[in-house]
């Protein structure tokens, strides 16, 4: 009978990649190059029946979903995007291992219709591994725009596997895809893929090894295994042969050593890749019609976006534009919500008075809980709900790789990995998400640098603080343009954050995180027009719900506690008063005051509560300001001794200070190390103190 992978299992690779399934369920693997719209296909097939997690033992995200067709249940496993089964990264390893050792019943390979030749490389590799393959040629709508015509049926005949043309974004081809998969798994179609025939000397070698493999090992395609023995990927060999006992292993090794003695392994790899691409070229030439004359829209756009002259200015402009839209867009809803909520506060106070409720109860519930909630919802929520969708649209467009391209020379000088620019950009949305994004950097050293510096870009939760303060102090009374100065100041702050990121990365890579820079390749995918309406709707709703949830869970209790601490007296001062007095000298040294420092400390759970808590602290010390609307913000701050120095330093401190609790927890999880987590808090804090100290000194000397 021979040794099968199943029969020699104890805790080998297959166990890790075996998906739990019931008898009549099918496991379908979803593979493909990066940037082919694979996730769109995944979403189109599974709808809401999906969940994400991690591949066991690896920090690679895995997504599973389900769909039913013709009464059959299918478990869809989304594999990481990979260029080749010859893994050159952890993600590609996971994809390769699942396809080799996992228990999938069929594989859907998603390819990009506008780049089919390159994509076919992976397809050919996969059909060498298994017969049950369905080729999904996605982004047909994009291809049509570029006058690219694909003969799907011709390719089907040529390759010997079912081919489905899709535009998953619009749902085109999805039903046909489900049908094709069903037919393959149910045995209605028996694909007979025409695998690549290699150069003569390779075919000879395969012939000398394959029979032996067929005799001794089953459960894996013998031709594929013979090829792997020949081109000798040692890691793969180790994992395969871990499961086979000694003698067959030695036999095989003897055979391969004689077979491979004359040829350099890398020449063999080159020849194999060359042959695969030759076949891909042939198919492309015969069945894909391109229009050379058609103006390449992406090329023209990139001529500006990545040009030496316009590239960076356009980026700065885009950044400023995003902030401007956020600020102006948030104004009206902010005012409306504030009027509404603070109006209710008066009514609630009245109600409490009528009920003869105790003063402290009114204090905690209304002045503490409710006010904080009202603050977060009216001042913090609108900018967050607007910025995040804008950011998502830029992401979906494909803009971020262009940013990485434009800034790469800076990151190279800072000895940082090229992909760090991408993770830094992700930090704009949310620092915790940016930390997780750092997984795309393979080298642990460079990943750590990216993690430690991610905090220096202001996240979604910090923007409203920056916006509120700069708007309060920098909008001129005549209202020249809806706030050009706040936009400029925030843009400037972001640029400062990027500069600090680069500087700290440089220092880290020369001191505690020394090492050699690793290589990377950056693909600039074609621009894809995102479904703006859908993105806006889902992001705004998504963000709103998320922020409201966080407001209830975190901000509200924090506000209540703050009010209590601010009104429980020990001797002359409240508890907060004592704490503020204690911290005040240190705070004054860096141009802040004790209350501001406390607000930042109490704001550890979530950055957006810093300003509401500060308001709470100032008001609970009896500042006699009626809190009517957001305009009162400026008065309250001025009444508590704010100067332009305070404005500047609060903004700087907000940019540079320690990460929020969620981010810290994420860092702990990603690095597994308390030491690095502590450093990720200490380094930014240290820098924040130093920078604010310097500005204070300079200010006091010259102003």
């Amino acid at each position: 009978m021979g040794l099968t992978f199943q029969s020699t299992q104890s805790n080998a690779l297959t166990d890790m990649f075996k998906i739990d399934k019931k008898e009549e369920q099918y496991v379908i693997a979803l593979a493909g190059n990066p940037n082919t719209g694979k996730s769109t296909v995944f979403n189109a097939l599974t709808g809401l029946h999906q969940h994400t997690g991690n591949w066991p033992g690896k920090t690679v995200v895995s997504a599973r979903g389900e769909f039913t067709h013709n009464g059959k249940e299918n478990i869809l496993v989304d594999l990481p995007g990979t260029y080749s089964l010859f893994a050159s990264s952890v993600e590609e390893e996971v994809a390769r291992d699942f396809l080799c050792f996992g228990n999938s019943d069929a594989v859907i390979v998603v390819t990009d219709a506008t780049c089919l030749e390159r994509n076919l490389h992976l397809v050919y590799q996969i059909i060498e591994l298994t017969d049950n393959v369905v080729l999904c040629i996605n982004l047909i709508d994009e291809a049509k725009k570029k006058n690219i015509i694909i003969d799907g049926q011709g390719i089907e005949k040529e390759l010997g596997i079912p081919v489905v043309l899709c535009a998953a974004r619009n749902g085109i081809g999805i039903k046909e895809l489900k049908e094709a998969v069903y037919k393959v798994t149910a045995g209605r179609i028996k694909p007979k893929p025409k695998a690549v025939k290699y150069q003569n000397y390779l075919e000879e070698k395969i012939k000398s090894i394959q029979p032996f493999i067929e005799k001794n090992i089953s459960g894996i395609n013998p031709r594929w295994l013979a090829l792997r023995v020949i081109d000798g990927d040692t890691k793969l060999m180790d994992s395969i042969f871990n499961n086979i006992s000694k003698e067959p292993l030695e036999e095989i090794q003897k055979v391969t050593n004689t077979a491979a003695s004359h040829y350099d392994k890398s020449i063999i790899r080159d020849d194999i890749s060359e042959q695969i691409y030759k076949m891909a070229e042939e198919i492309s030439a015969m069945y894909v019609k391109t229009d050379k004359a058609k103006l390449n829209r992406d090329r023209i756009i990139d001529n500006y976006i990545t040009s030496k002259v316009f590239g960076i200015p356009l980026m700065l402009f885009t950044l400023a534009l995003v902030f401007w839209i956020t600020i102006t867009g948030a104004n009206v809803p902010s005012a409306m919500i504030a009027d509404f909520l603070f109006g209710i506060e008066d009514k609630l106070t009245l109600w409490f008075n009528n009920m003869n409720a105790p003063v402290w109860l009114h204090g905690v519930l209304i002045l503490g809980l409710y006010r904080t909630l009202a603050w977060v919802v009216s001042v913090m929520l609108p900018p967050m709900a607007i910025f995040f969708p804008l950011f998502t649209i830029l992401e979906d467009l494909g803009y971020l790789p262009r940013v990485a391209f434009n800034l790469d020379h800076l990151f190279k000088k800072a000895c940082a990995h090229g992909k760090q620019c991408l993770t830094m950009c992700m930090g704009f949305g949310c620092n915790a998400a940016g930390i997780i994004a750092c997984r795309i950097i393979d080298s642990p050293r460079e990943r750590l640098i990216a993690i430690l510096t991610n905090n220096f870009v202001p996240c979604n939760g910090r923007f409203p603080t920056l916006i509120a303060i700069s708007t309060a102090f920098l909008v001129s009374k005549e209202g020249i343009g809806p706030g050009i100065l706040p936009v400029l100041s925030i843009t400037g702050l972001v640029l400062l954050g990027i500069a600090v990121t680069l500087l700290v990365s440089y220092i880290l890579s020369k001191t505690i995180l020394k090492g050699i820079p690793s290589t990377f390749t950056l693909e600039l995918p074609p621009y894809r027009i995102p479904q703006i309406g859908r993105v806006l709707y889902t992001s705004i709703v998504d963000r709103t719900i998320f922020v409201l949830w966080r407001a209830v869970i975190i901000a509200v209790p924090a506000g209540a506690i703050t009010w209590i601490l601010g009104n429980m007296y020990i001797g002359d001062l409240s508890i907060i008063g004592h704490a503020a007095a204690f911290l005040d000298p240190v705070a004054r040294m860096i141009g802040l005051d004790g209350f501001i420092l406390i607000a930042f400390i109490l704001g550890l759970p979530a950055n957006e509560i810093v300003l509401p808590i500060l308001m709470m602290l100032y008001l609970s010390t009896g500042a006699m300001i009626e809190f009517e609307s957001i305009d009162s913000l400026r008065e309250i701050l001025l009444n508590n001794g704010w100067t332009y120095l305070t404005v500047l330093n609060v903004m700087l401190f907000s940019l540079l200070h320690w990460p929020c609790a969620t981010t810290l927890l994420t860092i702990k999880k990603e690095t597994g190390s308390l030491k690095w987590t502590a450093l990720s808090a200490l380094i930014p804090t240290g820098i924040a103190f130093v920078v604010c100290f310097i500005t204070t000194i300079v200010w006091r000397l010259f102003v």
């Binding site: 040009s307 391209f405 020379h409 290589t519 950056l522």
Partner: protein, 75 residues
């Protein structure tokens, strides 16, 4: 031997050989940089590095360090 990092914008070249090793070599092969493959040098980025190349229809950017590991023949 002509290296890719010395080719100017707008030129077309074909791949002759790769001097990269290990994972980078695999990545090059997977992206389609086999012998005889055509590369179009699209444009250099701000400050000259990295450079965008058109490889089999896809836009890929390499830094000078990576591009210097690809030996090419000018058309």
């Amino acid at each position: 031997m002509l290296k890719l990092d010395n080719i100017s914008d707008g030129s077309h070249v074909t791949v002759e050989s790769l001097s990269a090793t290990g994972m980078l070599r695999e990545r090059f092969l997977a992206l389609g940089l086999t012998k005889g493959a055509r590369i179009e040098v699209v444009r250099k980025g701000p400050s000259g590095d990295p450079t965008v190349y058109n490889i089999r229809g896809a836009m890929i950017a390499f830094r000078r360090e990576e591009a210097s590991l690809i030996a090419v023949n000018q058309d």
